[in-house]
């Protein structure tokens, strides 16, 4: 534990802590609202994995693009989509970021370059490669960060995408959120080679394995990787070792893992960990923590009130947005 942090480092850590708490409290609220039948459909929460999104997003610029999975509430929030628009989307209301057409698994937002919300495992990787190809062909300095779980590694699209990105040296950062389970299938039950970084290395992509429960470590690795990608170093790959504390989805009875295993990982709660390290510096007090939480709670309560006040899109608009409405 490094307690000799500079003021800037303390500020950076506090910022990461705030971002993680924003995700945590949003997700806890989502679970509550789901239980109250305010949110329906499939819903997957990110509790336990917050250090990954917080760390990677801290390294991105506003114009950078993000492609994520169906467990993406936190990624959307930290990329800049408002908690209001996210919750209203999960309520299925027109005030949502996708007018209620996407729901929990399909959050999209043009203004923040947030490209989903992809519920086909590995289906976002080729799209991320294409976004990076677009940036490369138009000489933009944009980096595309693509999040996916370790389950995606078994899909052909993973391999096709890594190969293309490396072959064409595209500005994409692959972020593998290795939480050890593809729904209920443990990594060692689905992969002959469980060191995922080696798979990326086989495509000549620089690949680093990072402690995904340590927000500072993720942020540092992501910063170096993003810098390398942006400066023309081609694709980079982060394997982020993490764990989801909750079930896969709201329907999951969790028969495939031991409670003791979950408990062991919860001891490494990334929020508690970073809070303790900050406290140890002597520059982050209990009052700071209370204020931080209060600020986030206010943000989430405001979002809930906003979503509660939302409205369904009229059924006569059902067939809008199948084709573009812009003039040809």
């Amino acid at each position: 534990m490094n307690i000799r942090l500079t003021a800037a480092e303390v500020e950076h850590a506090a910022s990461l802590l705030t971002e993680m708490v924003r995700v945590r409290l949003l997700e806890e609220k989502c679970v509550e609202l789901y239980s109250a039948a305010k949110i329906r459909g499939f819903m997957h929460v990110y509790i336990g994995e917050e250090a990954v999104a917080a760390g990677v997003m801290s390294a991105l610029e506003p114009e950078d693009a993000v492609v994520a999975t169906y467990r993406e509430h936190g990624h959307a929030l930290l990329k800049g989509v408002s908690a209001r628009a996210i919750l209203a989307e999960m309520y299925g209301f027109v005030e949502g970021c996708c007018r209620g057409r996407g729901g929990s698994m399909h959050l999209f937002d043009r203004a923040t370059h947030f490209y989903g919300g992809n519920a086909i495992v590995a289906g976002g990787l080729p799209v991320a490669v294409g976004l990076a190809l677009g940036a490369a062909m138009t000489d933009r300095r944009q980096v595309t960060a693509c999040f996916f779980g370790e389950g995606a590694v078994a899909e052909g699209e993973f391999h096709e995408s890594l190969n293309l990105a490396a072959l064409w040296q595209l500005p994409v950062l692959f972020c593998c959120e290795n939480n050890l389970y593809a729904m209920g299938t443990a990594l060692e039950r689905s992969e002959s080679q469980t060191d995922i970084a080696l798979k990326a290395a086989a495509y000549e992509i620089p690949a680093w394995t990072v402690d995904g429960m340590d927000a500072l470590a993720v942020a540092e690795a992501a910063r170096r990787a993003v810098d390398a990608v942006r400066s023309g170093g081609g694709p980079h790959f982060l394997q982020l070792r993490t764990y989801r504390f909750r079930a896969h989805s709201m329907y999951d009875p969790e028969r495939y893992r031991e409670k003791a295993e979950v408990a062991r990982w919860i001891e490494r709660d990334p929020i508690e960990d970073l809070r303790a390290r900050l406290s140890a510096t002597g520059r982050f007090s209990d009052e700071d923590w209370t204020a931080l939480r209060a600020g986030v709670e206010a943000e989430i309560e405001d979002a809930v009130a906003f979503a509660e006040g939302g409205s369904p899109e009229p059924a006569q608009d059902l067939t809008r947005f199948v084709y573009s409405e812009v003039p040809k």
């Binding site: 490209y115 990787l125 294409g130 976004l131 677009g134 293309l164 947005f321 040809k328």
Partner: protein, 325 residues
């Protein structure tokens, strides 16, 4: 000028690359090899490897990359060698290209054009010969084009690239060597309307793509017997031009649909159903259909021919239709 379907398609790609810097072509062997069917021959030398981009054999990967590039503001033309291979990219076509606009509440349109060859007749057997454009026409969010003439091969691409949404172009493999006259100033054409390729009063033959030349031959043979067949080229399978179809059938009172796809659950079934829904009382006979036999297309020449629509089968179907009323 004298040209071929292949050359007309190449001219269309060349014009698109010249007119719009955002346009590029990518796919398997489109560059160095010159295109599996030589459509893009010479374009690599003219436009360079960035814009004539050879890809690895990873249909899902490069179609998805095309979708991403379209989202990023480019106008990709993605070539897939055959419709059978496109099944490897079906996830990207269906779950992303066709769905993103709606799923994102209108935020992300996908201006991609995906070209592929389709159809049988060249003894390429069951993994290179199918006609699945009717399947694709099932999917909301896509536009499905089936150029059958030189003018459409020359003119549909630019209009497709100008469309803000995903467009799939199905090029029947047997059409590439077809030659003929094309106006020197031939250019972009509409992609909304069906076309009457031959006027007639006794029966409407509804077809598209690779079977159009055969159906024109059948109409000629029928004319010799005194039956005036109208030939309607659908051109676009989604959206279907109901207006032109119904107007023609309402004039001739009989219709035969000719489709190289299989019969069950097909575009021919959809067209027949629409005619029944919208022109039932104008019909003097049940709508006839000539489709491919419901088998994976076989290799052996005689068996392949037996599986496909033919002049003889079209003529027989027309005889059946005119026998009524």
């Amino acid at each position: 000028m004298k040209t071929t379907y292949r050359e007309a398609m190449r001219a269309a790609i060349r014009e698109s690359l010249q007119r719009d810097d955002r346009v590029f072509l990518m796919g398997e062997d489109v560059g160095r090899y010159g295109g599996c069917f030589a459509v893009s021959l010479g374009l690599l030398e003219e436009f360079g490897p960035d814009r004539i981009r050879d890809t690895p054999l990873s249909e899902s990967g490069f179609v998805g990359a095309g979708i991403g590039a379209a989202l990023a503001g480019l106008r990709p033309i993605v070539e897939i060698m055959t419709v059978n291979f496109s099944l490897l990219a079906l996830d990207q076509i269906m779950n992303n290209a066709a769905s993103l606009l709606h799923m994102s509440g209108g935020q992300f349109n996908v201006p991609i054009v995906i070209r592929m060859t389709t159809g049988a007749g060249r003894q390429l057997a069951a993994q290179h010969s199918h006609s699945l454009e009717g399947w694709y026409a099932h999917i909301p969010g896509l536009r499905i084009l089936t150029p059958a003439t030189l003018a459409d091969a020359r003119g549909m691409l630019w209009t497709a690239l100008s469309d803000p949404d995903p467009v799939l172009i199905f090029e029947h493999g047997s059409l590439y060597p077809v030659g003929g006259e094309l106006a020197d100033d031939a250019g972009a054409v509409d992609i909304d309307r069906a076309a009457i390729r031959r006027s007639g009063t006794d029966v409407t033959l509804i077809t598209y793509g690779g079977t159009l030349p055969m159906v024109m031959d059948a109409a000629e043979q029928l004319a010799a017997e005194g039956i005036a067949a109208e030939v309607l080229d659908l051109r676009t399978l989604r959206p279907l031009d109901d207006e032109t179809i119904i107007a023609s059938v309402s004039r001739t009172h009989r219709a035969v649909v000719i489709d190289e796809g299989w019969r069950s659950g097909s575009i021919s079934a959809e067209i027949s159903s629409r005619i029944s829904e919208q022109a039932f009382y104008d019909l003097d006979a049940p709508v006839g259909r000539v489709c491919s036999a419901e088998v994976p297309i076989p290799f052996a020449r005689d068996l392949e021919l037996a599986a496909l629509p033919s002049v003889e089968r079209v003529v027989t179907a027309v005889h059946e239709a005119v026998r009524h009323g």
